[in-house]
């Protein structure tokens, strides 16, 4: 793990009208590190991801890329830096085939026109190395099942040789075997030296592959844990705020008073 994080968020805030979605959020992702981002619904996970991906520019705070402050205001900015995002709602074009979707926005060209042959070849190679099974790379996305779409969406993120991959609930819609495949895939990304941000509600998935767990609660950082030294209960307490209530505060006060 290198000293300088590939991607770092320093005091990032984001507001939508009356809603303060993110408040002074800090996050660091190193190369070859899987960072899990967990939190309840509405905790700001998706918003945080979208600020990194350039869908929503940040209102306050700094995004650092390899130690330098950068401005990400458009999805293209994030793409050029080397951030690839797989969204929960996948965002694939139903009418385009698998190859068209994999290379959308970064098509291979030959004499100025689309190089369908090379794209098809690379698609097949990529899908094969990821053990992804689909009927044909020339089939429209509309014909694929939910699990197949998910793996196509993840494969799509890897086409551009990114340095950081963001996976938003990658296993939410998947069966047992596909989930295992996606987790394998996440580990393979780590071995390739990529930084991975994994958003998940599934503690089993998080504990299985993540190195670090960042907890968001109500748009704020609520603890960061190294997975090896943490139990499920600690993380869940941080997510739900179970450790932050009248009882615990009273205990803390009593403990201080006892000193």
């Amino acid at each position: 793990m290198s000293a300088t994080p590939v991607l770092a968020l320093r005091g990032v805030s984001k507001r939508f009208g009356a809603v303060q979605a993110l408040t002074d959020v800090e996050l660091e992702v190193h190369a070859g590190e899987v960072v899990a981002l967990v939190g309840d619904n509405g905790a700001g996970k998706s918003t945080l991801v979208k600020t990194i991906a350039g869908v929503h520019p940040v209102d306050d705070g700094v995004i650092e890329w390899e130690g330098k402050a950068v401005s990400i205001v458009r999805p293209q900015d994030a793409q050029h830096l080397g951030v690839a995002t797989v969204y929960q709602d996948l965002a694939l074009c139903d009418n385009l085939d698998v190859v068209g979707n994999l290379f959308l926005g970064r098509e291979l060209l030959r004499f100025g026109s689309l190089d369908e042959v090379s794209m098809e070849k690379r698609s097949r190679e990529l899908l094969n190395t990821l053990s992804i099974r689909i009927p044909s790379v020339r089939i429209p996305i509309a014909s694929l099942s939910g699990g197949q779409r998910q793996v196509v969406a993840i494969a799509r993120a890897l086409i551009g040789e990114p340095k950081v991959v963001i996976l938003d609930e990658p296993t939410a819609a998947l069966g047992v075997e596909q989930t295992a495949q996606v987790l394998d895939l996440v580990e393979r990304l780590r071995e390739r030296g990529l930084g991975v941000i994994l958003i998940s509600h599934n503690m089993a998935d998080v504990m299985a592959v993540a190195d670090t767990v960042h907890v968001l609660r109500l748009g704020k950082n609520n603890g960061s844990f190294a997975v090896k030294e943490t139990t499920n209960e600690q993380i869940i307490a941080a997510i739900t705020g179970a450790s932050d209530n009248a009882v615990t505060r009273r205990q803390a006060r009593n403990a201080e008073a006892a000193k």
């Binding site: 458009r74 965002a91 074009c93 098509e107 042959v117 689909i134 509309a142």
Partner: protein
């Protein structure tokens, strides 16, 4: 929480084996339930049947419709399939077809442009004013007109993409506004005649490919067939080398023969009177270019992507606004070009230009030809196929001395039928998981 722990173990296959040691998947690992296309000619047939059942009709309804229409008119009037009438149809379909080609781009986005007819009328007036009133070189005048047409389209696109006004409303305003501008420009003179020279001569009724030479039509047919054959073979070779699936030779031969039959029969029929009108040649060349742009360039891919899913396109780094503005500019350009075609039919810019049912015919042509109103599906050849249907109906009814009122009703019914087929096909596609 112990249950969670046990899940971890099962969800990590190989119990902590590094992923590198997982053997790479063999290419043969294919899910047995998947529909895999069989190799060879038989596979082509079964694939075709499956597509039909799944509601992917493509150009089939329009070809069937065309055969029915031609049979009916031929039975009613034996002059219908005569050479001179076919030359007529092929000449008169080009102008509206040009407008429809531009509309295909807009329809692929899932939007509509209601201003195309007015823009085409305005363009004929502008050209007449440039060339006749001010005596500008007709080629330069045509270029200026086309540039203005594209500019008008870009303005529509700007209001739609940047301001967020629905395209339907922007272009409806344009429909009225540009028509008003045309009336205002022609107001003092009423109508302007245009000299039969330069670009308008080429687009006119007296201009044929290679000066009515018998060879002309066959040269065109040969070029078309040879281009398809060569393109398919080169593609097949490249794919074979890259080890990806390729079209079987039998399929290539079948396609080439089919095109050859259509092209040479058309050439033979047109040659019996005067050959191929240059207007049609220009229309076909424009369609080839548009088809290339849509299927083989990044811009075309972006158009389809925006038509398929705006959000997916945006996240893929595509500037949706830029695509929208340029697509509306293209529609404006082709409306303008179509306006020149239509002006060349009579060598005048009239107050009636771009009025009546021109807009409906252009939209109908694109939709009848198989371009979906719902966006993301279609191709520019639908402009040609759709116009063949519409122009055949119009010319046929003219031959039978039918009133215009009947023409409107029949064209309206054909448009409705086309949209019904589009909607039903889309529902079938959804039901069979293909939309």
């Amino acid at each position: 929480m112990s249950s969670d722990k046990s899940t971890i173990d099962t969800s990590k296959p190989g119990g902590g084996t590094p992923a590198e040691e997982v053997p790479p998947a063999t290419v043969a690992a294919i899910d047995p339930r998947l529909l895999v296309r069989e190799q060879g000619f038989k596979g082509y047939i079964t694939e075709f049947q499956r597509k039909l059942k799944g509601g992917e009709l493509g150009s089939l309804p329009v070809i069937v419709g065309l055969i029915i229409i031609w049979t009916i008119f031929q039975v009613k009037d034996s002059l219908f399939l005569s050479s001179s009438n076919m030359v007529n149809i092929s000449f008169f379909l080009s102008g509206t077809g040009m407008i429809a080609a531009g509309l295909v781009f807009v329809l692929l986005l899932g939007e509509i442009d209601l201003s195309v007819a007015s823009v085409s009328g305005l363009s004929s007036a502008l050209f007449a004013i440039f060339a006749t009133t001010h005596g500008i070189n007709p080629w330069l005048a045509a270029l200026m007109t086309l540039a203005i047409g594209a500019g008008i389209g870009a303005v529509h696109g700007f209001f739609f993409a940047k301001i967020g006004v629905p395209a339907f409303v922007v272009t409806l305003a344009g429909n009225l506004g540009w028509n008003g501008l045309m009336l205002w420009l022609l107001g003092s003179t009423g109508s302007l005649s245009i000299a039969d020279t330069g670009p308008l001569h080429i687009l006119g009724q007296r201009s044929f490919f290679m000066n009515q030479s018998i060879a002309g039509a066959y040269v065109l047919a040969t070029v078309g067939v040879a281009a398809l054959l060569l393109g398919s073979l080169v593609d097949q070779t490249r794919r074979r080398r890259a080890n990806v699936p390729y079209r079987p030779t039998s399929e290539i031969v079948l396609r080439t023969v089919a095109l050859a039959v259509v092209a040479y029969v058309a050439a033979f029929v047109l040659n019996k009177s005067s050959g191929v009108p240059n207007a049609l040649v220009i229309f076909l060349v424009a369609l080839v270019i548009c088809d290339f742009v849509l299927r083989r360039t990044t811009f075309g891919r972006k158009v389809f992507a925006v038509g398929g899913s705006i959000e997916a396109a945006r996240r893929a780094g595509i500037s949706v606004a830029a695509v929208r503005i340029s697509v509306f500019a293209i529609a404006g350009f082709f409306s303008s070009l179509g306006g020149l075609f239509l002006a060349a039919q009579t060598y005048t810019a009239t107050l009636q230009a771009g009025q009546g049912n021109l807009l409906m015919l252009a939209i109908a042509a694109a939709v009848i030809g198989g371009t979906s109103l719902f966006g993301g599906r279609g191709n520019v050849w639908s402009a040609l196929l759709g116009m063949l249907v519409i122009q055949s109906i119009q010319t046929g009814l003219d031959l039978l001395n039918m009133n215009q009122s009947i023409q409107y009703m029949i064209t309206g019914a054909v448009l409705l039928a086309a949209v019904v087929i589009d909607s039903v096909a889309r529902r079938t596609q959804k039901a069979s998981g293909r939309a």
